[in-house]
């Protein structure tokens, strides 16, 4: 019988560095490893990832498995599943974790079926059950209305983890680890897709995902012009503008502004929700914020159940006054 041991995480690179989600996964993996008394592995797969091994070790990996090949430049389901499948069959980790990113959410399910095991997607908490030693996987379900805790009966126990819910360890460049280089050995015939083009839709100014303050508007804002007022406040607070789904659907703002289950998952210090009713699908995208403030004219709006501070009133009256008071205190 195969012995499954160790925790493996699938690493991703961004702009020549480890992606933030990867450092978060390493932090989470380290904890699971210390509960299990096992080692932490990091898989690094791409066209030019050999230079990231030390960084992975500094953030917590014991062993780094690297596959660097020009054919792996673009993420493609067939090539990545093949490469990861091969490593996992050799390594036989007990737990295998991915980021819930555009790569992870495609790769992990397909790989789980290939390996004849299962995966829980979009987890916000992972821990080891002290009795069974199984991985307890907590994930939001029903659009954020509820959470479910799952275990998996087969190995490796796989999960994808939501961005910004785990904490990375402090980078420690004195940490030691081992690097294992693996050949991609890909058969071109087996890659059935072709990436023709990549289109990056850059937002101006501070990125929504990175902003410390986000001013978000909902259906009640009513127009493109309304969002100009939110922009003014966001600029003042050195933040970014977000939105619920209706403003994106109505074309008042680009679709990249959407916060929520099917939009961006963010965790700013301050989230100001203006004329947003507080649907579960929206709140799941911002509930990681340290403080949430709501402005809504309806005192019964669900959003007041979920936030720390609120003002009941028409935003067209409340927001300008809020903005000018902020200006005042900034000037002081």
């Amino acid at each position: 019988m195969t012995e499954y041991k160790g925790v493996a995480i699938f690493g991703e690179a961004k702009e020549g560095k480890l992606a933030v989600i990867t450092t978060e996964l390493l932090g989470c993996g380290r904890k699971l490893c210390s509960d299990l008394g096992q080692e932490l592995y990091c898989l690094l797969i791409g066209s030019d990832v050999s230079n990231l091994t030390q960084e992975a070790i500094a953030f917590g990996a014991d062993k780094v498995y690297v596959v660097s090949d020009p054919l792996l430049e673009d993420y493609q389901t067939d090539s990545y599943v093949t490469v990861v499948e091969r490593i996992v069959r050799q390594l036989t980790p007990q737990i295998l974790i991915f980021g819930h990113t555009s790569i992870g959410r495609d790769l992990a399910p397909r790989l789980a079926f290939r390996l004849d095991t299962a995966v829980s997607t979009d987890c916000v908490e992972l821990s080891i059950d002290p009795n069974s030693k199984l991985l307890l996987q907590t994930k939001p379900v029903y659009g954020g209305n509820a959470q479910a805790i799952f275990t998996i009966d087969t190995y490796p126990q796989m999960a994808t983890v939501r961005v910004k819910v785990m904490s990375p360890l402090q980078r420690d460049d004195s940490r030691q680890g081992e690097v294992v280089i693996i050949e991609a050995d890909l058969d071109l015939q087996t890659i059935r897709t072709k990436v023709l083009e990549k289109v990056v839709e850059e937002e101006e100014g501070i990125k929504l995902e990175d902003a410390a303050v986000v001013v978000s508007g909902g259906r009640g804002i009513g127009s493109v012009e309304g969002f100009k007022q939110l922009e003014e406040l966001a600029k003042l607070l050195k933040g970014a503008v977000g939105a619920s789904r209706p403003p994106c659907d109505n074309g008042w703002v680009p679709s990249g502004y959407q916060v929520g289950l099917t939009g961006k998952i963010i965790a700013p210090d301050l989230y100001i929700a203006v004329a947003i009713s507080g649907s579960s699908q929206h709140m799941t995208g911002c509930s990681g914020a340290k403080t949430i403030v709501a402005i809504n004219k309806d005192p019964e709006a669900n959003i007041f159940q979920e936030v720390q501070f609120g003002v009941v009133g028409d935003w067209q009256k409340v927001l300008p006054a809020f903005t000018s008071k902020v200006k005042e205190i900034i000037a002081e």
Binding site: P109, A146, T262, S279, Q281, K325
Partner: protein, 266 residues
């Protein structure tokens, strides 16, 4: 172009959050009698994607749904939008499954349909938000897959798919047959027409039982599960919202700023 769309019946995700309840004994979400189930909105985008290809190039759309207590008015919605056939995998043995057993049963049903160029699924479902069944079907059938599509263009023997990624989209080409999961960026699904509704009323769904699709009974429904649901719960929100008041909306706003500054948030 022969197309298959997988569609799930779910609790209406847009019913007010306050009406959402869990039965802790059964670990199950309960449906208030007043709320009718609906087609999973993501599955509806998948139906719309197939209809757009049918509009452009013609073809036949077969819808497959697995579940229990499938209300005919609900599961017939894709027919009233313009799909051609409806197959229901309706049997106690199919239910209480997970992504694995659901994908397996759907894949075996698709095998029985046999004649297909494109299979569509939603990017996830609005109940378990798993996002796996599509990839699972593709893996079981040995097909390529492209997930999170926002636009699909079919040419001869191929499709071009815009796949949503974290910072934009990429254009992927894949040959047929293939499986595609559809994301909400595709754009609103169409409303059924009166003519569509009349036509759907007359059409009877085909019902397949486990024996009809030659599945192993140990692999479907609850028996085929690989995951166990330990607990389903509603997270409690700590603390209450402090409503900041004032004599006028403007004053309330100013008070809020002061409050936030006091709390060192601003």
């Amino acid at each position: 172009m022969n197309m298959i769309v997988c569609v799930k019946q779910v609790i209406d995700p847009e019913s007010p959050p306050a009406s959402f309840r869990i039965d802790p004994a059964k670990n199950e979400a309960t449906l208030p009698a007043s709320v009718s189930p609906v087609i999973d909105p993501y599955s509806e985008y998948a139906v719309e994607a197939a209809l757009r290809i049918k509009d452009a190039r013609g073809g036949k759309i077969t819808v497959i749904s697995l579940g229990k207590n499938l209300l005919r008015d609900v599961v017939k919605k894709p027919l009233s939008m313009g799909a051609d056939e409806l197959i229901l995998l309706e049997d106690e043995a199919f239910t209480e499954g997970d992504s694995w057993s659901t994908a397996y049963a759907l894949a075996m049903a698709i095998k029985k349909v046999a004649d297909y160029d494109l299979i569509f699924c939603g990017r996830q479902t609005s109940d378990w938000d798993a996002g796996q069944v599509g990839s699972g079907i593709a893996e079981i059938l040995g097909l390529p897959s492209v997930t999170l599509a926002q636009k699909i263009e079919a040419t001869d023997g191929k499709v071009r798919v815009e796949r949503v990624v974290d910072d934009g989209y990429e254009v992927v080409e894949v040959s047929l047959p293939t499986l595609i999961t559809v994301s909400n960026e595709l754009g609103e699904p169409r409303y059924p027409t009166i003519k569509g509704i009349m036509a759907a009323k007359k059409k009877e769904p085909v019902i397949w039982k486990p024996a009809d699709i030659e599945v192993e009974s140990s692999q479907i429904g609850a028996a085929g599960r690989r995951t166990r649901l330990l607990k389903l719960f509603q997270p409690v929100h700590e603390g209450e919202c402090e409503i900041v008041g004032g004599d006028s909306p403007e004053e309330a706003a100013a008070n809020l700023v002061l409050k936030l500054r006091e709390a060192k948030i601003l």
